[in-house]
């Protein structure tokens, strides 16, 4: 215990202090308005204010849609990519290196890249779709609420798929070949093998991918900041961006902390689920 004490103290300072301080801030009215830092205890007033704030609810709704869709899309696409990479023809290192590129690009650089791809006047996407005859005139992909939110989603899916695909590929490679051979001997086709051998075997990996992806989708900020600034008309304001805007742009530190604590609470619950999924169990115990 004595030997781990320094590490525990450092961890407490680095992780524990900001968390506790953030919770305390959420219980105070803290503002720099007019230049002065004013602090006063207000109890749960900031959290009560959340319930009456239509912008918070809009951001919560946007975030829910974004997270659910992102998890579904990333999981399905990643599973498909992992299956292709696990196929004898997809085992070339070239494909794996190619796959990792979107994940390796720095988040802000990725957002700037997509800003130009989606540009309403010069964007590559418009150019390609028009040259293929799919659209008659250039579209403003980030111009309407529905389109803007979904393009943010597409961009984040594009960035998230590589890591999850590699995670699933690792899971697929752990499936014993003897199970496939036994299934084949029993007359199972490719689809039946996938449904009754592959999926049950990598169920744990899929569960971890889902939980991790949900946590990550709650943390999306860079894409919103660079691509849309929450617009048009708050259509792409996600909770993380809202917490930033209220805290650093409006300097309403107490209310911003309350929003951040909501995100923290949701993330904490999901992280608990993640730990539960990974926790070693007795042989035969169900997960």
């Amino acid at each position: 215990m004595v030997f781990v004490a320094p590490a525990m103290i450092v961890l407490a300072a680095i992780l524990g202090f900001p968390i506790v301080d953030s919770i305390l801030l959420a219980l105070q009215h803290v503002q720099l308005t007019g230049g002065a830092v004013s602090q006063s205890w207000v109890g749960l007033e900031n959290f009560q204010r959340l319930f009456a704030d239509p912008v918070f609810w809009k951001a919560a709704l946007n975030t829910s849609y974004f997270s659910v869709m992102e998890v579904i899309l990333v999981t399905l696409i990643s599973l498909g990519v992992a299956l292709l990479l696990n196929h004898p023809m997809g085992k070339s290192g070239f494909f794996r290196i190619l796959l990792i590129i979107p994940w390796a690009i720095a988040p802000v650089a990725n957002a700037v890249l997509w800003k130009w791809i989606l540009n309403a006047n010069y964007g590559v996407l418009n150019g390609i779709l028009k040259s293929l005859g799919i659209i008659d005139y250039y579209q403003v992909w980030l111009g309407t609420p529905f389109s803007a939110l979904n393009f943010l989603l597409i961009v984040d899916v594009w960035k998230s798929v590589p890591f999850v695909a590699l995670l699933m590929l690792a899971g697929l490679q752990r499936v014993p070949q003897s199970l496939y051979r036994a299934a084949y001997m029993d007359g199972a086709g490719p689809l039946q093998s996938f449904l009754h051998v592959t999926l049950p075997t990598i169920r744990g990996v899929i569960a971890i991918a889902i939980v991790l992806q949900t946590i990550w989708s709650l943390r999306v900020f860079d894409l919103v900041f660079v691509l849309t600034r929450g617009g048009p008309a708050d259509a792409t304001a996600l909770l993380n961006f809202l917490a930033y805007r209220v805290t650093f742009n409006f300097l309403d530190l107490g209310y911003g902390s309350a929003i951040a604590n909501v995100i923290f609470a949701v993330t904490f619950i999901l992280a608990g689920l993640y730990v539960w999924l990974l926790w070693p169990r007795q042989p035969g115990a169900s997960r």
Partner: protein, 428 residues
């Protein structure tokens, strides 16, 4: 001496020598006794940056540093990140700067700043437009000095107007709408703006503030509460809505003015409201496809006449500065007539000094300067308050909803008015 050298003496002498050597600048302290280190927080070019951060008056800057025995360290950031960096530094009590750039945020950061501008030399103050101090004055004290005359004016493509049969720029709202409609042809749009970011100077809300003043309206009453839920407030937004069919539809997605400027400079739009710096960019063949075709004019008049908003680019001195006098001297250097002249000639950002604006060489290189001076004869209130960002997000978001047809102009203004009232009352 050697006879008295004991082990203790030897160790003491060694320790003394080591401690002296460890002190920075031990041997050279005398030579640098007068040196002063100044830290300046400024935007990155092409936004208005000072000598040493932008490429102008570099030789004069070196001479100033040598003559004043000062070193100047710049921390520069892209313009959209400036406010939040300052807010974080001030909130944490760790502002490292002597001088900071400010843009409409003086009321917000006022208690972290020193009212040095009350002590500027009379000759300098007399050469600045008196109105330039309005956005940097709080409770009668001047906390900053505007260093560039930066008002929104109308930039337009002369060739496009001539092709459409127009010989002069639009002078009023009716002409503005007609021009917009007629200029929307051949894959081009009559107007382009950046409506993507609701917040701050140059955001969606600030464009509406331009139209609001042209309609004869104001944001706030004498009691500080909003009064824009009015005929003028609605007319201003309706004008913007009416212009939408001839506005580049991408405007609603352009979060930065540079995005919209690129459209005008590529010849894909014919008119836009922009800041004076665009003159240089528009006539630089490396950045523009409309070189020689660009002109500027006073913004079209609404029912109450023309009006604009002020960019409010100012230099301020922080309360935490250890060398406020030297910091003020550096700001006075930034405002020196020769430096101001190079500022406009080399970067395109107009000077604020009236004598430099009247300089024939300046007027020849920046013919838009006369237009900006003319624009300055009309109202150009940016309505800055301590909660300017919050207010502009609330108003700008409602304006965006009206521009997209989600709400009528009247409903959007009513909702914005309610939101701003709540913000102002919460501020107390």
């Amino acid at each position: 001496m050697f006879n008295s050298l004991s082990r203790r003496n030897f160790l003491q002498a060694g320790a003394a020598a080591g401690a002296a050597a460890a002190m920075p600048g031990f041997m050279t302290r005398q030579a640098h006794a007068e040196a002063v280190a100044l830290n300046v927080f400024a935007p990155l070019p092409p936004d208005p940056a000072p000598p040493g951060a932008a490429k102008f008056s570099e030789e004069a800057f070196e001479k100033w540093k040598a003559a004043n025995a000062a070193t100047v360290e710049y921390e520069t950031l892209a313009w959209p990140q400036l406010h939040d960096r300052m807010a974080t530094a001030f909130a944490s009590g760790s502002s490292p700067w002597d001088i900071t750039y400010n843009c409409g945020w003086v009321p917000e950061f006022q208690s972290f700043l020193t009212p040095y501008a009350d002590k500027l030399p009379k000759a300098l103050v007399d050469d600045l437009p008196a109105s330039s101090f309005s956005t940097v004055t709080v409770d009668g004290k001047r906390y900053g000095t505007i260093f560039t005359l930066s008002l929104l004016t109308l930039f337009y493509n002369k060739e496009h107007l001539e092709m459409a049969g127009f010989k002069a720029p639009p002078k009023n709202w009716d002409e503005f709408k007609t021009y917009g409609k007629e200029l929307t042809r051949d894959g081009r749009h009559g107007l382009v703006l950046n409506y993507g970011d609701p917040a701050g100077i140059g955001g969606t809300a600030s464009y509406w503030m331009v139209f609001l003043q042209q309609a004869g309206g104001k944001m706030y009453g004498e009691d500080g509460l909003p009064i824009f839920k009015s005929e003028q407030g609605v007319a201003a937004l309706q004008m913007m809505v009416d212009m939408m069919p001839s506005t580049d539809p991408g405007s609603i997605s352009y979060a930065s003015i540079n995005d919209a400027t690129n459209v005008l400079l590529s010849g894909r739009a014919s008119m836009m409201m922009n800041w004076p710096f665009m003159w240089n960019a528009g006539n630089d063949p490396n950045q523009s496809q409309v070189v020689g075709k660009l002109a500027s004019a006073v913004l079209p008049a609404g029912p109450a006449g023309s009006a604009s908003i002020d960019g409010t680019d100012a230099w301020t001195i922080t309360k935490s500065s250890k060398n406020p006098e030297k910091a003020q001297q550096l700001i006075e250097f930034y405002l020196d007539a020769d430096v101001q002249k190079r500022q406009v000639l080399d970067t395109g950002w107009l000077p604020i000094r009236l004598s430099v604006l009247a300089d024939p060489e300046v007027q020849a290189k920046a013919p838009n300067a006369a237009v900006v001076l003319e624009q300055a004869k009309h109202p150009y209130d940016s309505f800055v308050t301590p909660d300017y960002n919050q207010v502009t997000v609330a108003v700008g978001t409602e304006v965006q909803k009206a521009l997209q047809g989600q709400k009528t102009a009247a409903q959007a203004i009513a909702d914005a008015h309610d939101a701003v009232t709540a913000i102002v009352k919460r501020r107390g």
